[in-house]
């Protein structure tokens, strides 16, 4: 059995909602089949008021063993470093977070806000928000570079806005079935099993990418979203097209450009005028190229792709 506590800071509850979409295992399966004991969760917990405060205090004192601490949402430091703008259970949330992180075996940052600061930390970051161990690309965050949970692991970052339910449930099952040792993390402390491949891996528009056939505006039944509509699939690490969303689709499959939400910079360009759903280019070449591809190589590649393009590639492929 593993005790799990889940709190929300500067959050929208989106990761909780996403988690509740889980199947194999469902949220209930985690409890009944894998012995995950949910001590309290903001949307699911039975207790209120003093009852919640007692649970938190018992975790901090060690009276209750805290195996897994999941945090959703940013750590709010405003105003003036006090954290008073996000009070929870009678005191600033950030004070609970520091004490609970120190008491936990494993600390999980779930979603962009908890990992990198996310939307709340977008300029001008009005709430002085941080992620647990990062602020955007910078290591450190609220808990600091040297933080290690009792297990010896740093914060496990499961980014995404929101995170796919599998990305968290499979990690919980790994912990519950004694496979925590197999967890390999990348430089941003993301589990490699999910975040080594690209969002583009498995995209149904890959053939159009290969022949440089563009979806030039929304609602088209063909074409790749990278060339004109700002899709970040080739530069983003996530399994969105390997482990489908809500079991059925992904944004790029449905026709929505990837926003790169598993990367620290999300939302990219701080949403400056002219950057939303539009590929940023210099002299007709995208500013951000597929990871590892240089400009010269890209120009050669697209020239060859255009030359090789078969006629069918310009016709609708996702037909009625």
């Amino acid at each position: 059995m593993a005790n799990l506590l889940w709190l929300q800071g500067g959050a929208c509850s989106g990761n909780t909602m996403s988690f509740l979409n889980a199947e194999e295992p469902s949220a209930c399966d985690l409890v009944t089949d894998f012995g995950i004991n949910i001590l309290w969760q903001p949307s699911l917990g039975m207790e209120l008021g003093d009852g919640v405060q007692q649970i938190l205090k018992d975790c901090i004192s060690g009276a209750t063993k805290l195996d897994i601490f999941v945090f959703e949402g940013s750590v709010v430091n405003a105003p003036n470093g006090t954290g008073e703008w996000n009070r929870f259970a009678g005191r600033p949330m950030k004070d609970w977070v520091r004490e609970l992180s120190a008491a936990a075996d494993i600390v999980v940052a779930l979603g962009d806000c908890a990992t990198w600061g996310g939307i709340p930390a977008t300029a001008p970051n009005p709430t002085d928000s941080q992620g647990l161990q990062f602020l955007k690309r910078d290591n450190g965050g609220f808990l600091g570079t040297d933080f290690k949970a009792k297990s010896g692991l740093p914060v496990i970052n499961i980014p995404g806005c929101p995170a796919h339910p599998d990305w968290v449930t499979q990690i919980l099952v790994a912990v519950a079935t004694g496979r925590a040792g197999d967890l390999a993390l990348d430089e941003f402390q993301r589990p490699k099993t999910f975040f080594q491949s690209f969002t583009q891996t498995g995209c149904t528009r890959n053939m159009h990418f290969a022949y440089k056939v563009s979806a030039t505006e929304f609602g088209q039944r063909k074409g790749c979203l990278f060339y004109d509509l700002g899709c970040r699939g080739p530069m983003t690490h996530s399994p969105c097209n390997r482990i489908l969303w809500n079991r059925v689709s992904s944004k790029t499959r449905a026709g929505m450009p990837c926003l790169g939400c598993t990367e620290p910079e999300f939302p990219f360009f701080d949403l400056a005028p002219g950057t939303v759903f539009k590929t940023q280019t210099v002299m007709g070449v995208p500013k951000d190229l597929p990871e590892g591809v240089n400009k010269k190589g890209y120009v050669k590649l697209t020239g060859a792709a255009k030359a090789a393009m078969p006629e069918w590639a310009e016709e609708d492929i996702f037909v009625v």
Binding site: A11, G14, G45, G49, R87, P126, D128, F218, N246, M256
Partner: protein
């Protein structure tokens, strides 16, 4: 219980999506005064200033992970009205379908996950229904809890077909939607709806067919339905109702008795050239204001919206202002001062009617009015129940929410029938400066966005969420907010576990995460004024 006044501070009240603190004064075991405090501030409107005009499509669904489709709907319609777009019928239908899918998801998820688990509280051990409640509704392990929470994920699979994922897609854009669903998307969506009907709505929720439930038009019809067959009485709806009456959920949570809805679901042939003023006449589900005491229904207009910051952590000019004219000027010291300022939420009010309650009960009471056009949705059941039961209560409010599956399900079927797959889903608009307003009904009530685009960027963005209406503090005239008022008269059996306060807050399906307005922590600077042209 002595007659002494006892003050109870409850921090947090969970299962309300966000951080809510409640203070109640109790006398003889009954709440005699109440204050609600929204305790989280994130500053989305500040973040949106000077950003790309379409930034709201990315940011605002993320204001709320529960009602993201509703925020996206508002953000898209606000830009449509600002840019003067044309939206093709398929685009309107695809937006409506996405929002309906989110709402259908929310019914079992809220019911089992957030509301019903309070029925297994030890407070109700003496109820003859208690044993069965524990069996069905215990968190995680209850038989119907597990079915309900798990199946709640199915309707949003339809959303994912349109938008790629739920929550947090941005597939609704000015001029329509990003997707062009194919035949197999539509057939799969039909199959998901049928699955939801045949695995939850009919066998678990109703104990009868949807068609039989649709015959219920009055309170008497409902009671007759309940008594008609044991399958009805023992369904989750039947059990919820009977246990609710047994433990007295119909006896408290009355509230203000004044209600608001923006109406929603624009008709696919009536809102293709969207304007702010043309909206009331274009929506299938009519909006309005219902005043219970006067028994009157009126149309609602965004121009009636007012915000009052007397008891909120902002330092602004006296009196009430339209959100367009608001200066958002926060104070650094957000200590709870119940005689002074005690919440990040503002008091949202109607210029003539003051505080109003938003939510499914509000919608349903408005559907019972005679103020709408002939082709718009009508349903008199809740208005009849409201009158015969002597007003609102925790039980009636929650019943209203769950009753909505009826039209949500039928409207989703209608969307799937009305798609014309060979016609466009998107007409590329011309970007331009302008002011816009987009509104809808999230499952938990009236939601709207105002946008002002100038020089190709956002000059001002304002959101008023349903919980801002409901959880707001007192007005300057000391009228309590809707939930504050609804707490009055609530019996508290055990002050160390005041589950009844939770019932009231959860009957409003409160959602604190997207309730509060914006300010800049670093400078405390006033935001620009939103001027009506």
């Amino acid at each position: 219980m002595s007659a002494q006044l006892q003050t109870l501070d409850i921090s947090p009240v969970g299962r309300v999506e966000g951080d809510l603190d409640v203070r109640v004064d109790i006398k003889d075991g009954i709440v005699v005064n109440a204050w609600t405090s929204a305790e989280l501030f994130r500053g989305f409107e500040v973040i949106l200033r000077d950003k790309d005009p379409q930034a709201g499509l990315v940011v605002t669904p993320r204001a709320c992970g529960i009602c993201g489709a509703s925020h996206l709907t508002c953000a898209a319609w606000a830009l449509d009205t600002a840019w003067g777009t044309e939206v093709p019928r398929n685009g309107i239908i695809a937006r409506n379908l996405g929002q309906l899918a989110e709402s259908l998801q929310s019914l079992p998820r809220h019911h089992y996950g957030l509301f019903m688990i309070d029925m297994v509280n030890k407070n109700y051990q003496k109820s003859p229904f208690y044993e069965e409640a524990v069996k069905r509704w215990s968190p995680f392990t209850g038989s119907n809890y597990e079915i309900g929470v798990t199946i709640s994920g199915r309707p949003v699979e339809i959303y994912a077909m349109l938008g790629g994922q739920w929550p947090h897609s941005s597939y609704m854009v000015p001029g329509g939607v990003m997707c062009s669903p194919t035949l197999s998307d539509v057939t799969r969506a039909w199959s998901i709806l049928e699955h939801f009907r045949s695995n939850w709505i009919e066998p678990i929720w109703l104990g009868c067919s949807i068609e039989r439930y649709e015959e219920i038009q009055t309170y008497d019809d409902f009671i007759a339905w309940l008594d008609e067959r044991p399958e009805h009485a023992n369904s989750d709806l039947g059990m919820m109702w009977r246990m609710g009456i047994d433990v007295g959920l119909d006896k408290f949570g009355k509230g203000l008795g004044k209600f608001v809805s923006w109406g929603y679901l624009p008709h696919e042939d009536k809102y293709n050239k969207p304007t702010i003023d043309g909206r009331n006449a274009a929506v299938q589900m009519p909006g309005g204001v219902f005043d219970g005491a006067a028994d009157t229904h009126k149309l609602m207009d965004q121009m009636f919206t007012r915000e009052d910051t007397t008891h909120s952590w902002y330092d602004e000019e006296e009196g009430v202002v339209h959100p367009f004219d608001r200066t958002t000027n926060p104070i650094d010291n957000n200590a709870q001062d119940f005689a002074g300022k005690y919440s990040w939420a503002t008091a949202v009010a109607h210029a003539e009617h003051g505080h109003l309650e938003a939510g499914p009960l509000a919608r349903e009471l408005i559907y019972g009015g005679g103020h709408m056009e002939d082709w718009q949705h009508k349903d008199g059941l809740l208005l009849d129940m409201y009158k015969k039961m002597g007003g609102a209560s925790v039980l009636l409010r929650h019943f209203a929410r769950m009753h909505e599956f009826k039209y949500i399900y039928r409207q989703m079927e209608r969307c799937l029938r009305e798609f014309r797959l060979d016609e466009p889903f998107y007409i590329k608009p011309q970007e331009q400066d302008g002011q816009g307003w987009g509104a809808t009904e999230a499952i938990r009530g009236a939601l709207c966005h105002w946008i002002d685009v100038q020089n190709g960027k956002i000059k001002n963005y304002q959101i008023i969420a349903p919980t801002t209406w409901n959880v707001g503090p007192r007005t300057g005239e000391e009228e309590r907010g809707p939930i504050e008022e609804a707490l009055i008269g609530t019996p508290i059996a055990d002050p160390t576990d005041p589950v009844e306060v939770g019932h009231v807050a959860r009957s409003y399906d409160s959602c604190l995460v997207c309730t509060v307005h914006a300010h800049d922590a670093k400078t405390g600077k006033e935001l620009s004024r939103f001027k009506t042209s």
